[in-house]
Amino acid sequence: MAGGSSINVLEQFELHPVLGGLGEALRFSQSPLYMIMAVCVVLMFLYMGMRPAAVVPGRLQAAAEVCYEFIHNMAVDTIGPEGTAFFPFIFTLFFFILAGNYIGLLPFSFTFTSHIAVTFALAMMVFVLTVIVSLKVQGLRFFAHFMPEGASPFLAPLLIPIEILSFLSRPVSLSIRLFANMVAGHVMFDIFASFVIMLAGFGVVGDVFAVGPIAINVALMALELLVGVLQAYVFAILTCIYLREAVAH
C-alpha cells in the first residue's frame, strides 16, 4: 500500500518486472506472465477436453465442444460463409480476453485486460485486419463506404468526415470499453475491501458493519464473472461485425 495509511486502489495495476533484472531487460512484467498462464489454461482445457475424442462426449469434452460451436456459430452467423476463415482468429481473441478477465478475478492475480496498452493493441490488430480484408475484398470501393448511399451530395462535406471519424474511433471504443470495464470492476473490489479495513478500525461495531462491504464484494464477484464473459463476447462479436462489413461486396 502506497504511503502505508491510505489505500491506493490503482496500485493493483502496476507492472513489476518478473525475475528481477532479466525481466526488466526483456520488459517482461507479470502481465505477459499472466497472458502465458491464460493461454496455457485455455490450451490445457481444450487439450484435456478433446483428448478422449469420444463420439459420446464426457463433461469436459462437451464443454470444449460447446466453446468451439459457440464461437463457430457466432463467426459464421455474423460474418457469413467467409466466417470459417476468420473463426480461429475470433476464437483466439475471445478466449484470450475471457481467460485474461477470469484469471484476473483470482485473488493475488493480475488482469492484463485492465491495461489500455493491451486492449488497444488487440483493437488495433482487429482494426488493421478489417482494413486489410476490406481493401483486399472491395478494393477501392472500400472508400465509397465513407459516403452513405442515397445521401444528398450537398451533405458530403459533413457526412464524409463524420463517417471517417466514426470508422477511426472503432479501435478506440473497442479498447476503452474492455479496459474501462476491467479497471472499474477491480477498483470497486479494492474500494469495498478497503472499507472493511477502515471499519475494522472502529472496534466491534466496525467488525459487525464490515460484513456489508464483504457481502457487496461477493455480489461484485458475481457481477464481474458476468462482465468478464460479456466483455469478451462484445469484443468478439464487434470484431465479427467489422469483418462482415469488410467481406461484404
Binding site: M1, I7, N8, V9, L10, E11, Q12, F13, E14, L15, H16, P17, V18, L19, G20, G23, E24, L26, R27, F28, S29, Q30, S31, P32, L33, V39, L43, L46, M50, A53, A54, V55, A64, Y68, E69, F87, P88, F89, F91, T92, F95, F108, S109, F110, F112, S114, I116, A117, V118, A121, L122, F179, A193, S194, V196, I197, A200, G203, V204, D207
Partner: protein
C-alpha cells in the same frame, strides 16, 4: 481483535498490491496517476510486444492443432450419425421390401390355390357330366334295345296271332261248313281283317 485486524490488513495488502508471486522485486510506481497510462514505463509498452508474441503463438496452436482436432471430432460424429441413419433407412427399406414380397407371395399362393381349386372343380364337373352322359347314353341304348325287343316280340306275337287266327278260322270254317277252306284265302282274309283293326 488486533490480531484479526493485522491479518486482514496483511491479506488486503497482498490482494491490493496484486503483485505476482514470481515478481522478485517491486521497484515501486513509476508515476502517481494510473499505472496503465504511464507510457514512459518500458513494461507498459513491453506488454504489447510480449502480448503480440503470445497471441500469435496462441493463434498458431489453436488454428493449426486444437481447432482442427475439435472440428474432426465433430465431423466424425455427424458423419457417424448420418451413416447410422443411412443404415437404419436401408434396413427399413429392406424390411419394407421383404414385407411387400411376403404379401406378393401370399397373393400369388392364394391365386394359385384358387386356380387349382377351380381346375379340380371343373375337372370333377366335367367328369360328372361325362359320367351322366354315359349313363344317359347307356340307359337310352338299353331303352331302345328293350323297345326293339318289345316290338319284335309284338311283331312275332302278332304274326303268331295271324297264324293262330288263320288256323282257328280254317278249323271253324271246316267245322261249320265241313269244307276245308283254301288256306291261302283264309290267310288273305285274316290279313285284311287284321289290317282294319289294330291291336
Amino acid at each position: 481483535m488486533g490480531v484479526i485486524k493485522k491479518m486482514l490488513r496483511a491479506g488486503l495488502l497482498a490482494t491490493v498490491s496484486g503483485v505476482s508471486l514470481l515478481a522478485v522485486s517491486a521497484p515501486g510506481a513509476y508515476a502517481t496517476g494510473m499505472p496503465q497510462l504511464d507510457f514512459a514505463n518500458p513494461l507498459v509498452t513491453g506488454q504489447v510486444m510480449w502480448g503480440a508474441v503470445i497471441f500469435f503463438v496462441f493463434y498458431m496452436v489453436l488454428s493449426k492443432a486444437m481447432l482442427p482436432g475439435i472440428a474432426r471430432v465433430l465431423e466424425d460424429r455427424s458423419k457417424r450419425i448420418s451413416g447410422d441413419l443411412e443404415i437404419a433407412r436401408a434396413a427399413k427399406q429392406d424390411a419394407d421390401k421383404a414385407v411387400a414380397e411376403l404379401q406378393q407371395a401370399r397373393k400369388d399362393a392364394m391365386a394359385e390355390a384358387q386356380a387349382h381349386l377351380d381346375q379340380v372343380l371343373a375337372e370333377e364337373h366335367k367328369a360328372a357330366e361325362q359320367q351322366m352322359q354315359e349313363i344317359n347314353a347307356r340307359v337310352t341304348a338299353e331303352i331302345a334295345d328293350a323297345e326293339k325287343r318289345v316290338a319284335e316280340e309284338k311283331t312275332r306275337a302278332l304274326s303268331a296271332l295271324k297264324e293262330i287266327a288263320s288256323d282257328t278260322t280254317q278249323a271253324m270254317v271246316q267245322r261249320l261248313t265241313g269244307i276245308v277252306p283254301d288256306a291261302q284265302l283264309v290267310a288273305q282274309k285274316v290279313e285284311s281283317a287284321s289290317a282294319h283293326s289294330t291291336i
